[in-house]
Symmetry: C2
Subunit: 689 residues, 2 copies
Amino acid sequence: MFLGIPIASGILALIFVVFLAIGVRRKPEGGETMVRIAGEIRKGAKAFLRREYTTVGAIVIILGGGIALTSLGWRTGASFALGAAVSALAGYIGMSIATRANSRTTEAAKSGVKSALGVAVSGGAVMGLSVVGLSLLGLGAVIYLFAPNLWSGAEASSSVLIAETGVINGFAMGASLMALFARAGGGIFTKGADMAADLVGKVEAGIPEDDPRNPAVIADNVGDNVGDVAGLGADLLESYVESIIASMALAAAIAVTGAGRNLILLPLAIAAIGVVGSIIGIFFTKLVGRSNPQAALSGGTYLAAGLTAAGTYFLFQWLGTPFEIAGVAYGQMGPFWATLAGIGSGVLIGLTSEYYTSSKYKPVKNLAEASQTNAAITVTEGLAVGMESLLLPVIVLGAAVMFSHYVAGMYGVAMAAVGMLATTGMVVSVDSYGPIADNAGGIAEMAKLDPSVRKVTDNLDAVGNTTAAIGKGFAIGSAALAALGLLSAYLTSIGSGEMISLSDPLVLAGLLFGAMLPFFFSSTLFRAVVKSANGLIAEVRRQFEKIPGLREGKEGVLPDSATCVDLATKHALRGMIVPGMLAILVPVTVGFLVGPLALAGLLVGAIASGVMLGVFTANSGGAMHNAKKYIEEGHFGGKGSVAHKSAVVGDTVGDPLKDTVGPSINILIKLMTVVSLVIAPILPGVMGG
Amino acid sequence: MFLGIPIASGILALIFVVFLAIGVRRKPEGGETMVRIAGEIRKGAKAFLRREYTTVGAIVIILGGGIALTSLGWRTGASFALGAAVSALAGYIGMSIATRANSRTTEAAKSGVKSALGVAVSGGAVMGLSVVGLSLLGLGAVIYLFAPNLWSGAEASSSVLIAETGVINGFAMGASLMALFARAGGGIFTKGADMAADLVGKVEAGIPEDDPRNPAVIADNVGDNVGDVAGLGADLLESYVESIIASMALAAAIAVTGAGRNLILLPLAIAAIGVVGSIIGIFFTKLVGRSNPQAALSGGTYLAAGLTAAGTYFLFQWLGTPFEIAGVAYGQMGPFWATLAGIGSGVLIGLTSEYYTSSKYKPVKNLAEASQTNAAITVTEGLAVGMESLLLPVIVLGAAVMFSHYVAGMYGVAMAAVGMLATTGMVVSVDSYGPIADNAGGIAEMAKLDPSVRKVTDNLDAVGNTTAAIGKGFAIGSAALAALGLLSAYLTSIGSGEMISLSDPLVLAGLLFGAMLPFFFSSTLFRAVVKSANGLIAEVRRQFEKIPGLREGKEGVLPDSATCVDLATKHALRGMIVPGMLAILVPVTVGFLVGPLALAGLLVGAIASGVMLGVFTANSGGAMHNAKKYIEEGHFGGKGSVAHKSAVVGDTVGDPLKDTVGPSINILIKLMTVVSLVIAPILPGVMGG
């Protein structure tokens, strides 16, 4: 019954992808310089993705083969490979259109914000709808191929259903692995290039941001696409798939007969409703954007969420029967309330991020003011803002956990994550809109268009900020909830009855080790970014020295941007391997060598410290970034003042925090948890395994 | 049987305190300027302590009264007040002699490193031996007064012994509360003053460090005493007392008959052995220091540890009987091996801190090299070093937990902490020696003595660095182990049978909330330091502007240092209140309003993220500090180069990380755990409470 709907809605999403993509490609591309620049960016981004996918592909084949050789079987291995492939495909499609939408947005910006908004939103929506469409189709395919009882809805024993959801977990693991590499690789690429462009360009050579003389600027723009479009798409695809699968796995383990049986496929049905809601939201945004850009993006987001909530409400009313979960009876609407709590807390978490990182509010204003003293004060205060910003989201998360558990048990906690992510189509659309607008601004600058065009694109960027913050709230909140859901599924799966002794030395050692991992993981990413930035800085300096007329901006003298893109690619690929393998090998090693209980402790520790480190780094970086922008708007002395110089240092410190480390940690904790869930059945001591 | 020994050794330690203090006071104080400067420092430090103790005293009276009014009873309240009083007294004695030893060390430095070392070691040893002597006497008094069955060694029921150790827990809570305020207040004082002195002096006015013209320099020196001497002393006193009490509480809950009964007082006996070992270590250091300063400090530390291990070995051989803990039989030497594992892992953790923070090794050298680009790179790389530095200590800690649990259960884990801290007398002596040498250097500079004197004091400082790193390893490692021991005691005490369900929403919400607290706590400390620094910066600028001839260094023109000291005091006292109350009120509120299980989750989360944040901040700050020093020694362009400017920013960011936030977090997690342990018997739902 349920499975037809998600597959149909997946196809629907892809139809709109084609429709929107054609719309974007039909728009005028702009003048010759713009076409050249956009072409360089597209070429660089494609080259990066090709090389990234080749590397990750090899890893996927090796790991998938390894999985197939264990008693998990070839189905799980194939499901894993398919998860990775779906994520790669979504990233490729999204990036491919985003790098076409950028110059077209610049061109449209010549006639104002309203028409530019339409192009950028369409470009972003291609990424957004590809993510949800491909996810649902992929999940449908895996269920059709490998989970016959789930597919047919036949009555089956608990162990059969658990085995079938176990195969589907492989899909989540594939998507998760791809996401980690995409985020880490893209994050290293984009921030290495960004830091280099800023440090040599703005600080050393004293030329403006996005100046065409700067050889690292194209790489910086490529980075926006591979990091913030393809990376973000893979990230949310993973969250989306994982929140669905966590709920399915929990449901399979706890409720397999009668009306309870519906619980297994329910998350897919809610996701399908969310797709429809997102499509309507996107078209609402495009429509309203013609008259009121400010209201369009947030209006579309709220509309999508509202429609999804309403649709879910009717779904539950229609299903009718009260649920029994793990022997406890919950009301008919229990999981619905959990879903609703997820949506609500996602919005709230987003608003707190907004409060701490937007220059409209006190924290960032104070940070800008504090920058008047010295860069050290900026950084210290910036770290303080990020650390303080944890308080409210964690209270909201805690309340969401307690409430959703109250109405529907651990399944409810996982369903809260599904609720947050049901509108992923809309959220990713808005999030991808940002880098497209950013790129459009860069192209305007590099093509030396009239400053009014840059002003329009800057406006576009600003319009999307609040909505993007809400999207970030969804990503962070859902990561925490999905990880808790997966953890619970893992504990059920190792048969610990979900009870754990905190006086067990293995659990305690695992806890400490797990809490350490996000920090160590972050250090490898920081290192990789610094290495890449240093490499690029040397190259930019070399070009300024060796290419006659470049620094002076002589007519017709172009920097060798391709070498910078190539360097950034090399550093990104090299830098993503260690953190990526860490996330896979650590849980496998600990699980097999030390045991499933130590692994449980490890996951608890990693989630506890990882969620905090993720929010802290994201908000610290965001606050420092916007404090710099606020000063550049003319406050506390504006550009060139002491405050500005301090803020630039703060922004540069914040760059890898918010765009490399923060988002990657979210994936790290989920990937480690899903790997543990996949290997759980074959760990020593589990069900005699 | 056991109790006579610890009390006697406490008295012995205090006899040596008097003896060493007299020795220090007999040394020549130096010339008039030196006497004046030392007097100002002493006056400022005393004024700060007086005001700090007044504030904390009021809080202690209110809380102690509150405890007395609950069913915990007046005994626990009195025990709590005594714990705080003992800590305050130790801090006062240590600081009082340290501020006399500083100018005397400068004076002795005129005749070389060897004689100066003797004075500084004696000064530090007064703090070290006061800490252990007063702790043991205080504990003895509490047991004598409030734990008659423990005192007499009479056979008693488990519940009676648990109630008696419950009263003693109050003593640990008092020491812990005092430590948190001392560390937070002292840390805000010292780093606010340090940042202000550096930013206005070195960066803005371009005058050297410790220049007498700088009005914030006296405050900076006062800060070294109140933060690094009194604060550190209170910190280690707390760890010392808590590791002993955690073992006692665990032993009381699990083994109360026959030979097992010995386990309750065993930690005190080992502490007593450690006192003797420390006294011998201190005199070894003073003796060897006359010929080989380099070997003296580390030799003394290793000797103290070795003697303590040997003494403990013979104690166990003498006791003879195998132990039964919680129904499991362990070998006769089980707790001894756990103690030894504690000593060994403490040394290892210290060596890893040394590796990551000393300019002798790659991480700091690379950091210095990376500083050549830009301050943002210094900070990013500095954060990366700190994050990476978690890997090895956490592995060592995990191994120590597993090993000590294997040989003696959870009691063994707590005993490992006792082992690490048995030589606290020696460790604190070496740690307090550092700031004395630092102060001596400052006085040499301010009194415009011959540069050779400053060179000697710099040498003194360097000699103590490795040994101080080992001390830091003991502090960090023992904090984690003691917290785990206290957590286990808490779980036993709330009767959860030490089992906990990770699918319990209260536990999960508690876990997230607990993991958030160390971050939020850190943000309040950062804020306080920045506020204090900004206040002082404004004052220093005002003085440079308003006092004619000050900036130019006109003969006879003195800055108004007292106003700076007063300002720093006000900010420190104001800044310590919120974080201090947080540590008390959060566990109490969560425990009573949400319940003991949520509190258990909270403690787990706080320990997991707190240990990591503590080590990360300490090592990041240490690495950035020493990278700056390394550059100042002439590497990468030396003073005035781009690298140096970047490193100064890094050092300033690192200051509050390593000296305010890092050490305070260690206390935070222990204070929250011990508060929970104290209130456990009266929490709702506990033993029908």
